[in-house]
């Protein structure tokens, strides 16, 4: 399949006068194929925005280069930028203008005009259910409505390639659903290539053809969902929340006595403050080859250790597990 974005050894170091330099991105290689949705998944500060900023020409890389549709973003930025649309993580709209005026302006900047542009703007506003508010100023919009206009502004010229940097941050589930559907529709109906960033595992999992997992400025794993989960094996993940004293020896006993268990992670209960009413809860994560069959014996062990189980969840291999396996940390924190 044809490659539309090919980034080699992208590196960005922010120099600071009052402290150590920040290595925001430390040598990222990335190749995105035409027509796919590629997600960069990573926690806050992983370097997702910095990576997108370099391959969209907003920030010049300290080292490395990216080729967009055959044009180097550092050497032929104009030609490269013509191919792409951009939905920044922040709302990038003129607050004093109406939704419609904003879209008309950015449409004109992409060389559109006349009735064609005005039709396109109205279509997008209707599609994003903003038709009624089209003539209201952006600064009177709710966060979710601004997000939708922000997305529309990147789609006006129907680019071959669109970058969407955390486009669902801070909006309700209904709007999020709509945005995710929109993204899939862009790929399936318009054949667009989408580079999508998120810190939400579910979004990356649902949308992407391929995912790159980022942490501390590096891509630590990349591939399809199946390829990535294979890396952590066929293990299920059992998550327990338990309370009632110290789990003395329980994790070790589970590992020893329960068949199929490969690893047990134990998060000590958070220090409950004096004002806290609820008993302190500890988190226990058990990796097991056959989660469902391992569940009853584990519960027995916990019971006999005098622990009260507050909740149990059995998760099949997912990106969360991959991240956990690779970093020892959870994505959500």
């Amino acid at each position: 399949m044809e490659t539309i974005v090919d980034a080699q050894n992208l590196r960005k170091t922010y120099r600071r006068s009052d402290g150590p330099d920040i290595e925001a991105v430390k040598g990222v290689d990335l190749s995105i194929r035409r027509g796919e949705i590629f997600s960069l998944l990573g926690p806050n500060g992983a370097g997702k925005t910095t990576t997108i900023s370099m391959i969209s020409g907003l920030v010049s890389p300290t080292e490395g280069d990216a080729v967009i549709g055959g044009h180097s973003i550092t050497k032929q930025p104009m030609a490269a930028k013509r191919l792409m649309g951009f939905v920044p993580q922040e709302i990038a709209l003129y607050p004093e203008l109406s939704a419609r005026q904003n879209l008309l302006f950015f449409g004109r900047m992409y060389g559109l005009g006349g009735r064609k542009l005005s039709r396109r703007v109205d279509d997008l506003l209707a599609f994003l259910e903003l038709h009624e508010r089209r003539n209201d100023r952006i600064d009177t919009f709710s966060g979710g409505m601004k997000r939708r206009v922000n997305i529309a502004a990147g789609l006006l010229h129907k680019p071959q390639l669109i970058y969407m940097d955390e486009p669902t941050v801070g909006i309700d589930p209904q709007s999020r659903r709509r945005i995710l559907d929109t993204v899939k529709q862009l790929r399936d109906e318009d054949g667009m290539t989408v580079l999508y960033t998120t810190h939400l595992m579910e979004e990356a999992q649902e949308l992407s053809d391929r995912v790159g997992i980022m942490d501390h400025g590096e891509i630590i794993a990349m591939g399809t969902h199946a390829e990535l989960t294979q890396q952590v094996g066929e293990e299920d993940r059992l998550e327990f929340t338990v309370s009632g004293g110290v789990a003395d020896g329980a994790p070790a006993r589970i590992q020893r006595e329960v068949a199929g268990v490969t690893r047990v992670l134990y998060d000590a209960p958070e220090q409950a403050g004096a004002e806290s009413v609820e008993p302190a809860a500890a988190r226990l994560t058990v990796f097991a080859r056959h989660g469902r069959t391992a569940l009853p014996p584990i519960i027995q062990v916990l019971d006999s250790a005098g622990l009260v189980i507050q909740s149990v969840a059995v998760r099949e291999p997912d990106l969360e597990a991959v991240f956990l396996a690779l970093t020892g940390r959870e994505l959500r924190d």
Partner: protein, 422 residues
């Protein structure tokens, strides 16, 4: 070119749709121009400056009449009472005669600026080449310049100077004739010779520029511009508010970066030069709009635009360009929008008075005038003055335009060099 135009129109629309900006662009400058225009107009006398001066001629000779004529010619603002009283009785004589006592009383009571008395024997003294004295009464503060007294002294210097010259020549002549034992001159020849010398000297002194000039007074006779306060207030307030408006552009890149529209623009197929260029055009246009608004107010109030509207426009454009260049030379050094606001106030409120936006630089001490020309406002005001007060043309303001454009060029280079993206 089209993207630049699109950005410019969009930015102007945003700027002009802001109520706060309209207050700064329209309401306050218009109010200030009107208030200052009116008060300056009051100050200058709302038409003609006139000084009521009583003059009593006890000599009543041709010579004293000449003195009075010269006095009138030297300062057109003087109304010599009762000689020059008008139909409205400007002299407030109420139809009564003006004798010496009444005139002294009037001067003491402040009813007149001064009283001038030409004593009897004035002409005789002059003709005998003696110093002729004039009596002068005034209640004005001896430490303040007195326009009437200065006019009178200028005239007397001329008249006495001529008389003294002839007197000295006559004495010299007598000395020479006696010293060399020559036969004495025939009296009529001698008188004719010295008379000619007197007239000659007087002519020379008249041709020489008077030591004190009262040009404003003379120009008023020609219906000149200085009588309308808006001729000072419109260019002055216009220039001040051009600075407020245009320098505000220092923060535009910061603001657009904060609201991420700059990043969106940068993700477009646009060069950095195009983005910077369009912002420069926006603030240049806003500056010109600002001048137009304030000068329109001046126009309604009857100010004079001089004889060369194109040259006037050129001075405005050169000044606005210079301030725009200053704005974008400073922009890269600004770290926050609050800091920018501080800078705008500091620069506008120091460069404006320094450059004569509030009051004409003519009235400040020499060194302040020189210092004032560090401010671009001074060059613009010089240009406006040449065009509006002295009805100059393009050629007269070329130096001012040249200085402003040169400063603009230097500042633009600084600005473009300093323009960085984060």
């Amino acid at each position: 070119m089209r993207p630049i135009l699109t950005i410019v129109l969009n930015d102007l629309r945003i700027f002009l749709s802001q109520r706060g900006n309209l207050v700064g662009l329209l309401v306050i400058p218009v109010l200030l121009t009107v208030v200052i225009g009116w008060s300056l107009g009051q100050f200058v006398g709302g038409g003609q400056a006139r000084l009521r001066v009583d003059l009593i001629d006890l000599d009543a000779t041709g010579m004293s009449a000449r003195l009075i004529d010269e006095l009138r010619a030297t300062n057109g603002a003087l109304v010599l009472c009762p000689l020059d009283n008008d139909a409205d009785d400007y002299c407030s004589l109420d139809g009564e005669a003006l004798d010496l006592n009444r005139a002294i009383e009037r001067a003491r009571a402040g009813g007149t600026e001064a009283l001038i008395v030409v004593p009897a024997g004035y002409a005789a003294a002059l003709e005998n080449f003696q110093r002729a004295s004039i009596d002068y009464y005034s209640m004005s503060d001896p430490l303040q310049p007195d326009a009437v007294l200065q006019s009178l002294e200028a005239v007397l210097q001329r008249v006495n100077g001529a008389s003294m010259t002839a007197g000295v020549a006559g004495a010299l002549l007598d000395n020479v004739t006696t010293g060399l034992d020559l036969p004495a001159f025939d009296e009529s020849v001698r008188k004719e010779f010295l008379g000619a010398l007197y007239r000659n000297a007087e002519q020379k002194l008249i041709e020489m520029p008077a030591p004190v000039s009262f040009e404003t007074g003379e120009e008023e006779a020609g219906g000149d511009a200085s009588d309308n306060g808006f001729n000072q207030s419109a260019p002055g307030m216009g220039s001040l508010y051009v600075m407020f408006t245009v320098l505000g552009g220092m923060a535009v890149l910061l603001r657009e970066r904060r609201q991420w529209t700059l990043q969106r623009l940068m993700a477009l197929p646009l060069s950095r030069a195009q983005i910077l260029g369009s912002k420069i055009v926006v603030y240049f246009v806003l500056g010109m709009i600002q001048y137009m608004i304030v000068f329109a107010v001046g126009g309604v109030a009857g100010m004079d635009f001089g004889d060369d509207p194109l040259a006037l426009l050129a001075v405005m454009a050169a000044f606005v360009l210079c301030i725009t260049a200053l704005t974008f030379a400073l922009a890269p050094w600004i770290r926050s929008e609050g800091q920018a606001r501080g800078f705008v106030l500091l620069l506008s409120l120091s460069l404006a008075p320094l450059g004569g936006a509030w009051w004409p630089l003519e009235i400040v001490p020499d060194f302040m005038r020189t210092l004032g020309h560090l401010s671009p406002v001074a060059w613009a005001m010089d240009g406006f003055q040449d065009l509006i007060w002295y009805s100059g043309g393009f050629g007269d303001v070329l130096p001012e335009i040249g200085v402003l454009l040169a400063a603009a060029a230097v500042l633009f280079v600084v600005g473009v060099r300093g323009f960085r993206y984060g």
